[in-house]
Amino acid sequence: MRFFKRKNTKKSISAIPSQYQAVDPIQKDALKTSLQENIQTIKYTLGASTDIVFREIRIGKEGSINAGIIYTDGLTDTTSLQEFILETLMLDIKEVELQKKITTGENLISLLKDLALKVGEIKEVTTLELLYNGLLSGDTVLLIDGYAQGLLISNKQWVERGVTEPVAQTVVRGPREGFSENLRVNTALIRRKIKDPNLWMESKIIGTRTKTNIEIMYINGVANDKIVKELHLRLDRIEIDGILESGNIEELIEDDAYSPFPTIFNTERPDVVAAALLEGRIAILVDGTPFVLIVPALFVQFFQASEDYYQRADISSFIRLLRFGSFGISLLAPALFIAITTFHQTMLPPALLISLTAQREGVPFPAFFEALLMELTFEILREAGVRMPRSIGSAMSIVGAFVIGTAAVEAGVISAAMVIIVSITAIASFVSPTYDIAIAVRLLRFGFMGLAATFGLFGITVGLIALILHLCSIRSFGIPYMSPLAPFNISDQKDTFIRLPKWKMFTRPRLINQQNIVRQQDSTSAKPQPPKNEE
């Protein structure tokens, strides 16, 4: 409610940042000319952190120039440090008369950078803040006595997971690669799919403490400029100490914070991101997580699996309809069961009514409570299954199946029909291709059960109207969430409930993309045509 909302916003504007400014350890002052002084400052600021290595060397023919090398152990590639930095400085340029050059007025730092160091990415820094940023993200710092400048030499390397098959979104047909935790690897995976110069990336650093790298990626000219601008605005508004996962970003920039429905899509599949970029959407990559965010995300998007586009169109359409159906089942099945068996018994066929009644003889709970109990049990089981170590998981599912399926019914505590309903609901909820939309339903289901238990089908109808009103009221980055269903758009129906063959998709989704709508220029040549039979 607004009551809470307002208080929070006030706090986030005024109180939090000032608190951080007070304790902020990073001084923005510039580097000094004295090497010793610089090293002392750095040592002081970083505390006695044992993973920071300070190495003082002397370089030049005369060995008269004092230099300091600082790096973070574990984040820096020590081999390349030795080969390309230490060796260069201490051996290769031994014969160069550096002292002379200095006196002729040349800047030694630029000199080293331009002539000596055999490393790809080198930056000059003059402030301590930038120095810390580089140092703590794995760069090697080179300081030279007498210069209020330093070099950030990029030779990051740390242990990481390679590109593996995505776990959360599996396919039968389609690329097997998934994003990893490394931002650069992830951008590379996308770049490899779209070799368009218009594929632009803009980076940001968010999190006052974590300094997490974030890339905004879109195809210039295809993506809607307004949405790009809006996204920048929202990202710039974030003032928080840490971003650990893209989920953090998602919560901070989404449109409707209280809605159970996700308004930002996430995926760990590069092909999904590439497809989204081609449709004119915008991807947000966050360092340290394989989950990439895609905006704007619409309701129907959560029912589209990447595989839909790799399989034949007809079967994909069928499967997609199946998903929408399952969504309905997993949302409404227990509620409908409650409504029909406790309010509208007339709806049941006579034989079914009698058999259901016979099952219920001796069941001590009202149907609503019975359903609640079973649904909760199932939720507990599911959660337990996710958190348990894999080896215990199978044991648990046996216990669960036995307790719910057999024992409860045998004991007459639960009617067999209810077990069937709960199982159907559970299975239906596993069908949805994205996890986010499946969990949105989990909570709503209980609401519907409550409505059904008080008002029967009328309650469910009212609940559905309220749900649809809600869905129609939210937007994702200015795009109505329910589009292209509402506002209805006939040309976008080609990829909503059904998927038309690729050669029929001439245009990009209309609302997301307004300037560059055409995907395939020639509509006649798109359709595959066998060569004329010449006999």
Binding site: F343, H344, T346, M347, L348, P349, T454, F455, G456, L457, F458, G459, I460, T461, V462, I465, A466, I468, L469, H470, L471, C472, S473, P480, M482, L485, A486, P487, F488
Partner: protein
């Protein structure tokens, strides 16, 4: 005052269809069959025709000032004070009819599905989503109408298909037994519920539409489609149930749904059909309620109508409980006082408006030009 809200003509079409079908789908067959027996469906056709004329008249009025709502038009033409009085009379119509429909939805549920649930409880739930819808604004209402419209028509189509085998053509014979005068008289019920009351839509049309010319067509087509639905329902009621039973049932189309029995399997689905009527009822109700809330805000020149939504929801709720002490009273009111009220607000005042507009046309044009 939230001027940037615009809905497109498709959404408007859907809203008009829902408004036209609204309660009519439940009540019209019975009202028409009461006097014109098996010719009720012809009466429905006549009613729809007259209704279209009425709608055309409304759009004609509305298009004098394509950026103003009906209340603003009234004030412009009648002048500030008389205009306000006329507007208040106008607003009392949707206010009263929101409560009336609320009573009807509660009454329908009480009669056919849940006789022991107090009507207050049912109405509270309904008012809950009414307030929610109006609060979220016209765009949201229009969009959800689009989605629910798909459900509605799919189910309606299935409904017609399933009930078609039960048609006994003897039930509608002899055709044209009733004379035209009786038909015209009976069709008044349909004309009033579906078309004359649609004057409240002038609170949306044309001010909130992005393409006014197209929207005018939508208005007429929507009314026509709604009318066709009612004609179909009336025809089905009479041909399946028979004229006498249709006239005698309070909600004949519910009785109709009870007759569905295809292959001994698809049967007993009347409760599902009832959900559809709840949906169409809801949209008619919300259009009335929106007109009420928005109208009051506009007469009083408020910057935002939203704060009024919940208090008015409360008022409408209470009114729905007192407005009709019983069903018989309601049915009597439907064809006497509500006729008069609707005709005064929906026909007489607009005609007056047209008269004065004709007289003051030139000065008004000047005024409008100078304000630009």
């Amino acid at each position: 005052m939230m001027r940037n809200i615009k809905i497109n003509s498709n959404q408007f079409l859907v809203l008009v269809i829902f408004f036209t079908i609204g309660t009519s789908i439940l009540e019209v067959p019975s009202a028409l069959a009461d006097k014109t027996n098996q010719d009720a469906w012809i009466t429905a056709i006549i009613g729809t025709g007259i209704g279209l004329l009425v709608i055309w008249f409304f759009t004609w009025i509305a298009l004098w000032f394509p950026t103003l709502t009906y209340i603003q038009i009234t004030e412009k033409i009648f002048g500030k004070w008389i205009g306000r009085v006329a507007s208040l009379i106008f607003i009392s119509l949707p206010l009263l009819y929101t409560s009336s429909l609320l009573f009807q939805s509660g009454n329908f549920l009480n009669t056919h599905m849940m006789p022991y649930t107090p009507m207050v409880a049912l109405n509270i739930l309904m008012v809950g989503i009414l307030v929610m819808g109006v609060y979220l604004g016209l765009e949201t209402i229009a969009r959800s109408a689009e989605i629910l419209f798909a459900f509605f028509f799919l189910a309606f189509f299935v409904f017609v298909l399933l009930i078609a085998p039960e048609i006994r053509i003897e039930n509608v014979q002899p055709v044209f037994e009733v004379n035209l005068k009786n038909m015209l008289q009976s069709s008044l019920f349909l004309v009033i519920t579906s078309s004359v009351n649609a004057i409240v839509i002038l609170m949306i049309f044309p001010a909130f539409l992005n393409k006014v010319k197209q929207a005018r067509r939508s208005f007429l087509i929507g009314n026509l489609i709604g009318g066709i639905v009612i004609i179909i329902i009336t025809f089905l009621s009479v041909s399946v149930l028979g004229a006498d039973k249709t006239a005698n049932e309070i909600f004949p189309s519910f009785e109709l749904a009870k007759r569905i029995s295809t292959g001994d399997f698809i049967e007993r689905i009347e409760v599902l059909m009832a959900s559809l009527w709840i949906i169409s009822l809801y949209f008619k109700m919300i259009l009335y309620f929106y007109a009420t809330v928005f109208g009051i805000a506009q007469v009083l020149n408020l910057k935002d109508y939203r704060p009024l939504t919940m208090p008015l929801g409360l008022i409408v709720m209470v009114l729905s409980l007192v407005i009709y002490p019983n069903v018989v009273y309601k049915q009597d009111m439907n064809i006497t006082t509500e006729y008069s009220f609707s005709l005064i607000v929906g026909i007489f005042i607009p005609l007056l408006l047209a008269l004065i507009y004709g007289i003051r046309k030139k000065s008004l044009k000047k005024e409008l030009n100078s304000s630009k």
